[in-house]
């Protein structure tokens, strides 16, 4: 008995230490130079929590734990070491699925466990267990769908069909209704087969919700979805903590939940849309009513790589605006080469990064960092937007809607009010683009038709390589 008390005291101390390490680790992430050390501290905290748990007196057999740990490490380590930076959005999405899977299995196991205990889970535990399983299950399938869209085996276009919202609402209400019924009936300990069936159906409905939630959302809205699923995974982990009375799960889950929530809000703001709009209003649905200006009668000016090299090579002040197109073409290394070349010739190069450029928060930053672009060359929208006035050449690289001046000037535009990069203020603009296809909002970009804008058509990577060769020859 005494041993057991000392044992559980040790476990609690390990958990408190781990909580502190997590919080301090995240604080390290507020600055690039302290970030790495911070996360190493958090990893030590995790190790501490795991060791503490292995000493838990409830554990009687270790074989399943060891198999799980070995299998998980065998899959996790190569995933961590080998996944290329370009596949980072998919990697993040699928990791939310694994986290949610663990949480959901724990929820189900705990529910089954309470069936054997007189009195059942009681109201409070059932609230936590139900929440955990509901959010866990919908995050499993939701994250898998997001993974599919990012990986490209599920269409990136919004999938809509008639009556979709009605069906979604019915499934959602069904799941919530079962959840509420479970909470009310489990209070008396009536954990009969009816409860089991309700729980199973609720979990199944939650799995369906995950699919129907993500299916109608387009690829460009992925930053919000991935952030939101991040938040759900955290909240489900926190609920697990409530269900089993474990504070470290509550703390870590709350941190994850808060992070995902903040990112979702930032991403929605950067698109000037509400959560509800992202989740329920696929862009495609509203397009017919939109008074977007058509491109008829307007002409663009197309230039060759040689022309572009002339302009860029002699520019003193260049701002590069990367977008998803850069990621698709994997042009980050070519753009770094170009940037270094300009600097060698005495020019200044900065990168302007819109919050929703790419498919996840911070996507462009990671790609450019991988290509060895120093982070003090990377600037947020607010930091650099006033600087476009003084810039000779703005090079737009596979970005579209985030540079569309209509967001400021045309109240009829679907993206009106969205914060954009003021590329149109630059002395001249060079847009590298594969073709004249529209961006995610499905509207024409007025920027492309300005007198100061030149279009350089082609694959970003090969076009930039040509420009680099030309600049070298100047």
């Amino acid at each position: 008995m005494i041993d057991q008390q000392i044992g559980s005291l040790f476990v609690q101390i390990a958990y408190i230490g781990a909580s502190a390490a997590f919080i301090l680790g995240l604080r390290g992430l507020t600055k690039p130079d302290t970030a790495r050390r911070g996360m190493q501290l958090a990893a030590v905290g995790m190790l501490l929590a795991i060791i503490g748990t292995l000493l838990n007196h409830e554990i009687v057999t270790y074989q399943f734990i060891i198999i799980g740990l070995v299998v998980g490490s065998a899959i996790g380590l190569p995933m961590g070491l080998l996944v290329p930076m370009t596949a980072m959005p998919q990697r993040i999405a699928i990791s939310h699925m694994f986290g949610a899977l663990a949480v959901t299995l724990v929820g189900i196991a705990e529910f089954l466990h309470y069936r054997d205990i007189a009195g059942g889970p009681g109201v409070v535990k059932m609230i936590a267990l139900g929440f955990e399983t509901l959010f866990g299950a919908l995050t499993i399938t939701g994250s898998f769908m997001a993974f599919g869209k990012l990986q490209g085996f599920v269409t990136g276009r919004p999938v809509t069909f008639p009556g979709q919202k009605l069906i979604n609402a019915a499934v959602f209400l069904g799941a919530v209704g079962l959840y509420a019924t479970l909470v009310l009936t489990q209070s008396g300990g009536a954990t009969g087969d009816a409860g089991l069936i309700m729980f199973a159906v609720m979990t199944a409905l939650a799995l369906i919700i995950g699919v129907t939630l993500v299916l109608p959302i387009g690829g460009a809205d992925m930053p919000v979805v991935v952030s939101l699923l991040n938040s759900y995974a955290g909240l489900a982990a926190s609920a697990t903590g409530f269900a089993i009375g474990n504070n470290i799960l509550i703390v870590a889950g709350a941190l994850d939940g808060a992070s995902g929530f903040i990112l979702s809000i930032l991403m929605s703001k950067a698109m000037n849309r509400s959560f509800a709009n992202v989740l329920f209003g696929a862009f495609g649905g509203e397009k017919a009513a939109v008074s977007a200006k058509s491109a008829e009668g307007l002409t663009t000016r197309s230039i060759s790589a040689e022309d572009a090299a002339m302009r860029i090579g002699y520019a003193r002040n260049v701002i590069i605006v990367p977008g998803y197109g850069m990621a698709v073409a994997q042009a980050q290394h070519a753009v770094r080469e170009l940037a270094e070349l300009i600097e060698k010739r005495g020019g200044r190069v900065r990168f302007a990064i819109h919050p929703v450029a790419g498919r996840m928060p911070g996507h462009m930053n990671v790609l450019l960092a991988e290509a060895n672009v120093p982070y003090d060359h990377l600037f947020d929208l607010e930091e650099i937007n006033e600087e476009f006035h003084a810039c000779d050449v703005a090079l737009v690289l596979g970005a579209n809607d985030v540079t569309n001046p209509a967001a400021k000037s045309d109240p009829g535009s679907p993206i009106y009010g969205m914060p954009i990069l003021n590329v149109q203020d630059a002395e001249q603009v060079i847009v590298v683009k594969r073709g004249m296809a529209t961006g995610f909002a499905g509207i024409e970009n007025e920027l492309f038709y300005l007198d100061k804008t030149s279009m350089l058509f082609g694959d970003a990577k090969s076009v930039l390589s040509q420009v680099v060769t030309e600049v070298k020859g100047l």
């Binding site: 995240l26 998980g72 899959i75 996790g76 996840m360 060359h377």
Partner: protein, 127 residues
């Protein structure tokens, strides 16, 4: 912040004491009291998380996601107990799958976050 923490600590201690005093009361009441403390823990953690994470620059938002994902794989702790406790075999096996899934995130998550953070460098001083 410190004052707030102290206040919460005092409140928690008070609840603990009250709970002990009324140990004869119905078991469900005690359970609710214990859960109130957990609500405090959640609120404080969420509040702290919110304060810190709003200060993370957009530059590091992808590593932040990878990091919080690795941290929330703390559900490994709960999975371990289920895989190893005295439960029916199929529940232990569910626990085992949960352990594997959470371990993927712990190991993979911290490794990949470190890989990303390693790439972020400043301009080197001219030689």
């Amino acid at each position: 912040m410190t004052a707030l923490l102290t206040a919460i600590g005092a409140a928690a201690a008070f609840i603990a004491v009250t709970t002990a005093d009324t140990a004869t009361a119905a078991a469900s009441t005690t359970l609710v009291d214990a859960q109130i403390v957990e609500v405090y823990v959640f609120l404080l953690a969420a509040f702290t998380g919110f304060q810190i994470i709003t200060k993370v620059p957009p530059l590091l938002h992808t590593p932040l996601m990878a990091a919080t994902n690795a941290i929330s794989a703390i559900s490994l702790v709960a999975s371990i107990v289920i895989a190893g406790a005295e439960r029916p075999l199929f529940i232990n096996i569910m626990g085992m799958v949960a352990v594997a899934a959470a371990t993927i995130n712990v190991v993979g998550g911290f490794v990949i976050t470190d890989r990303m953070l390693k790439m972020f460098r400043k301009t080197e001083a001219p030689k």
